[in-house]
């Protein structure tokens, strides 16, 4: 069973039923990147719905078409998403995304890792 994966944009690891995605330093996400990110994520799912913890502290930018893809296609097989953010940049980014792209799965941003895990554990 595959529990770790890395591509040009992020590192993925699966631990105790939670999928951790950590975006790499200074990545700019456009539509092609978003498609790759979602595809690689789904390869770890093995057809199961999972809660996802997404560390976006190092993301540089995500453009509009990528945001739309991540919100709709990107929510496939996701039970809930917790973003790990750091004010102000990534916090703003997540707020903007949640407000305007309206992902259809429960999505919340956290500064504190423990709180994020507690949120995700309620969806396990």
């Amino acid at each position: 069973m595959l529990t770790y994966f890395r591509n040009d944009y992020a590192e993925y690891s699966l631990d105790e039923g939670i999928l951790y995605i950590t975006y790499l330093k200074d990545v700019s996400i456009d539509l092609n990147a978003a498609i790759q990110i979602v595809k690689d994520r789904l390869s770890l799912h093995e057809s199961q719905f999972l809660p996802v913890l997404c560390d976006i502290r190092d993301v540089k930018e995500v453009n509009k078409s990528a945001r739309a893809y991540l919100a709709i296609e990107g929510s496939t097989l996701i039970k809930a998403v917790a973003f790990i953010v750091e004010p102000p940049v990534s916090e703003m980014l997540s707020e903007f995304y949640i407000q305007t792209s309206n992902p259809p799965v429960p999505t919340k941003a956290f500064i504190d890792m423990e709180e994020a895990l507690a949120f995700l554990n309620s969806f396990k």
Partner: protein, 318 residues
């Protein structure tokens, strides 16, 4: 700060295609920049979308910038609009290498593209490049690159064209005018039906729009469930069937049922491609009652069947 002001000024004058360059710092200015960039993207989209939803025709596209390059990649000619947008003088652009107009990251991309272009005789391609204006605002654009040959000249020349979907105020006004004239043309049929005098075109209040948006979100969040009848759905949202039908089309450019179908198909496509769940259960998960029905709808939309897609995905051909 000066750049932010510049960007805001451009936005105030209706130019939403400029962006600010991001650094990797984490501070309030950077947060403001990322918000501003995304805001400009959203507004740009809304303006185009409005054009689309109003006229229900393809949106108009205007050529924004054109550059004619010689065989060394130097600019020979350009148009006035390009100078305006980049806020440079024509003489600043002419005879300079094309890459001087781009940000660093795009310069490498351009060079790679150029090398492959030189090898080919006649070639068309497109490439996303990021332009930098004199006031350091950036403009990300997809460029269309064409090589042309002339019988007399041995050396080929290259045309770079940048198309922009109209955000030009005049263009929007024109569309709005079109829309108004169109709707007045439609009115007589409405009147004859209702037999009332001069029913104005239905107006959606902010409240209506909010309700319809909520309807949209409900649909996206409940693809697996059966949608109630439009009448009941409208009641649930606190509006009426007519407003829901009309407003949904106006806001999203499609009917409620068609939108639902497309979203279901989109979701099923992801599941087929990236999971090994049974096709039958995927059909069920996206709200289809029978597999044959799902398969037919899928084929009609994507022009291949769910099983063809699964087969290809398993063989990693896609």
């Amino acid at each position: 700060m000066r750049q932010i002001n510049q960007m805001l000024l451009e936005m105030a004058s209706g130019n939403f295609f400029y962006r600010l360059e991001r650094s990797s710092q984490n501070n309030n200015v950077e947060a403001l920049i990322i918000m501003l960039n995304m805001l400009a993207e959203e507004i740009q989209e809304i303006l185009i979308h409005q054009g689309y939803a109003n006229t229900n025709e393809t949106f108009s596209q205007i050529v924004q910038m054109t550059f004619l390059l010689d065989e060394h990649g130097h600019v020979i000619m350009t148009n006035k609009e390009a100078c305006n947008i980049l806020s440079m003088l024509c003489t600043d652009i002419i005879n300079k290498p094309f890459e001087t107009l781009l940000i660093k990251k795009s310069q490498t991309k351009w060079k790679q593209c150029w090398e492959s272009l030189v090898l080919k005789n006649l070639h068309d391609t497109s490439l996303e490049l990021i332009f930098k204006t004199k006031s350091s605002l950036i403009i990300p654009k997809v460029c269309h690159i064409t090589t042309c040959k002339n019988k007399k000249e041995e050396q080929g020349q290259v045309i770079v064209t940048i198309i922009h979907q109209s955000t030009n105020q005049a263009e929007i006004e024109k569309k709005l005018k079109n829309r108004i004239t169109k709707s007045t043309r439609k009115e007589p049929s409405l009147e004859t039906k209702k037999n009332t005098s001069k029913t104005p075109k239905i107006r959606l209040s902010h409240d209506d729009i909010r309700k319809i948006r909520k309807g949209h979100d409900i649909i996206v969040n409940n693809l697996d469930k059966e949608l109630p009848s439009l009448r009941d759905f409208a009641l649930q949202l606190g509006t009426n069937e007519f407003k829901l039908k009309y407003g949904f089309k106006e806001l999203y450019g499609t009917t409620v049922y068609r939108f639902l179908l497309l979203e279901r198909l989109k979701k099923s496509k992801m599941m087929i491609q990236y999971t090994d769940l049974q096709l039958k259960s995927i059909a069920h998960m996206v709200g289809f009652k029978s597999f044959p029905h799902f398969s037919r709808a899928f084929k009609k939309h994507f022009e291949y069947t769910p099983s063809e897609l699964r087969k290809k995905a398993l063989n990693e051909e896609i």
